[in-house]
């Protein structure tokens, strides 16, 4: 017989340090959702697309950041620029599709035909004489510029004017991926709306414990003692890297990834980088996956998944990379459907009030199934949103969490 223990009430805080559990209302609260849009997505660097999506001058993509529609394009001088997708005249969307190539290197608003250069300058206002004597003239009007920078082919935007440069934000986080990310182009894209809060998907990308969910991961990864010792490294600003490991694809009859490996990658090698707030870059020897998120509502998230291979691939190698990509990833990959189903069930329970707290208390010396990356993510989340993650009704005081963010893990300076 089990010794008698007193079970704590299901809705009571779990008796852990405040860094080690979460008030599940952080996923469902409308005010917090608005604060995240303002203080995270509109204030920090946000991944937008890969440079290969803007191959030629005039190529553009439209992305949404913090509910703001943004045009990112390659200008006539081949520089990547970004602008609010809003005409300064009356606010109409200038570009109404998601991607394309500009005609004559100019953006034209469909509403009153004001047009702009790829540098954002107003080129033409129809029948301008009616503005004579006013301050309205093409020379004084332009599109609202958005800061755009790229690193290793990844294009980032920042809606705010206060943040430091991208290099400062990323620090050394992407250093391990310098070689694998060189000279890539898109070979896969899909988007899916998930009925769950965006942070729940982020969590699937930065905690290894849930690999138990995936037949693929528990068979080809966690089943190896060496894999379980694989370490997480925590970087400033809430970024993480999961150190390289070998994946035993053969254990699931998925073949070997010993040819066409990307530069800097070992055969069957695997590297993961999580960039705060929403990006995961995942390299499985021959192919790269980049996930990014657009929160649409507390319980609705747009997930975009990109797969990348070498730009100089021959057709046969490209097909091999697609095959490898699709084994794990994509809407018909083995893993994504499992992650989505898991977090949608979490969301359903949390939004119904049937689950009050989440436990993120695993401490394993930063090894594969340690929750340190989650605690690091929420450390940055608290810092930016200025809210308490263990009790959203409690006033946020950084001191309550001091010294505990990195508990069980060592931060990289």
């Amino acid at each position: 017989m089990r010794p008698e223990t007193v079970r704590q009430p299901w809705d009571a805080p779990p008796g852990l340090p405040p860094t080690h559990y979460l008030d599940n209302r952080i996923y469902t609260d409308n005010a917090l959702f608005r604060a995240e849009q303002e203080k995270i997505f509109r204030a920090t660097w946000k991944f937008a697309c890969h440079e290969s999506e803007l191959r030629n001058a005039g190529d553009y993509r439209v992305v949404e950041i913090g509910a703001v529609s943004v045009i990112v394009l390659r200008d006539a001088d081949r520089r990547i620029r970004a602008f609010f997708n809003a005409c300064p005249h009356r606010g109409a969307r200038i570009v109404r599709d998601t991607a394309g190539t500009l005609v004559d290197q100019r953006l034209q608003c469909f509403y009153h035909h004001w047009s702009f250069s790829t540098q954002g300058e107003c080129l033409y206002i129809p029948r301008p004489e009616a503005y004579a004597g006013s301050s309205v003239c093409a020379e004084r009007i332009g599109l609202r510029t958005v800061r755009a920078e790229s690193v290793h082919g990844l294009v980032f935007l920042n809606l705010g004017d206060q943040a430091g440069p991208l290099a400062q934000f990323l620090g050394s986080t992407l250093e391990n991926l310098r070689e694998p990310l060189a000279e890539l182009e898109l070979l896969h894209y899909h988007r899916v709306e998930i009925r769950a809060n965006w942070k729940l998907f982020v969590e699937t990308n930065c905690e290894g414990y849930h690999e138990l969910l995936h037949l693929l991961n528990r068979t080809t990864g966690l089943s190896q003692p060496a894999y379980r010792k694989r370490q997480w490294h925590l970087h400033p600003h809430g970024h993480h890297t999961f150190e390289p490991a070998q994946i035993a694809y053969g254990r699931l009859a998925l073949g070997e990834r010993s040819s066409a490996t990307l530069p800097g990658m070992a055969p069957n090698g695997h590297v993961v980088v999580d960039l705060f707030p929403d990006v995961m870059v995942n390299v499985r020897a021959t192919v790269v996956r980049i996930d990014s998120l657009t929160p649409l509502a507390p319980g609705l998230t747009l997930l975009e998944c990109r797969g990348l291979g070498r730009a100089d691939d021959l057709a046969e190698i490209r097909e091999l990379r697609q095959r490898h990509h699709n084994q794990v990833w994509g809407p018909f990959g083995r893993n994504l459907p499992e992650d989505i189903w898991a977090i949608e069930t979490q969301w359903a329970n949390m939004s119904a009030g049937a689950s009050r707290f989440s436990i993120i208390a695993r401490e394993e010396d930063r090894q594969a199934t340690d929750d340190a990356p989650l605690r690091s993510f929420y450390g940055e989340w608290r810092r930016l949103v200025c809210a308490s993650s263990h009790d959203i009704d409690a006033p946020y005081r950084a001191a309550d969490y001091a010294g505990r963010d990195a508990q069980g893990a060592q931060r990289i300076p």
């Binding site: 999506e53 993509r61 599709d97 998601t98 991607a99 394309g100 898109l186 896969h188 894209y189 899909h190 988007r191 899916v192 709306e193 969910l213 037949l215 699931l252 009859a253 975009e304 097909e319 697609q322 095959r323 699709n326 994509g330 809407p331 018909f332 990959g333 083995r334 994504l336 459907p337 499992e338 989505i340 189903w341 898991a342 949608e344």
Partner: protein, 151 residues
Amino acid sequence: MMYEHDRLSRLIHLSGRLLDQESFEDYTALFAEAGEYRLVTKAPEVAQQMTWILLNRQELGALLASAPKHVWNTGQRSHLISVEEVAVEGDAAYSTAGFCVFHTDGGGATQVYAVGRYEDRWRREAEDWKLLKRVARLQTRALTPPSAIPL
């Protein structure tokens, strides 16, 4: 010749029924040893054609055999297939068919899951016609919920 057209039409319908019934071994057996399944769609967001599934028969069989060990929210699927064209030339054949897949969840709610077309190449083998190549050309891109089971 009419017999061959009917036989191929029945096999196309059968392919959907076998997936719906999760008779995966029988489904895989519809493919020739050198058979291939490919699912493609257009991604207007990046102005490219995407290949979302690319499996030879062996890989298809292995994926489907592992399905019970996975946690996919496949629900109950129902294929509705309309054969459009069957062209037979000796021991080779080509066919096209429109398909619609309905998804019924645990609560009994049914929704349209995916719409597309099959473009099939067949080869007559000793016992029957076998699929040399199936291209499922998807119109639907938002698949909710996603599942690794082919359509």
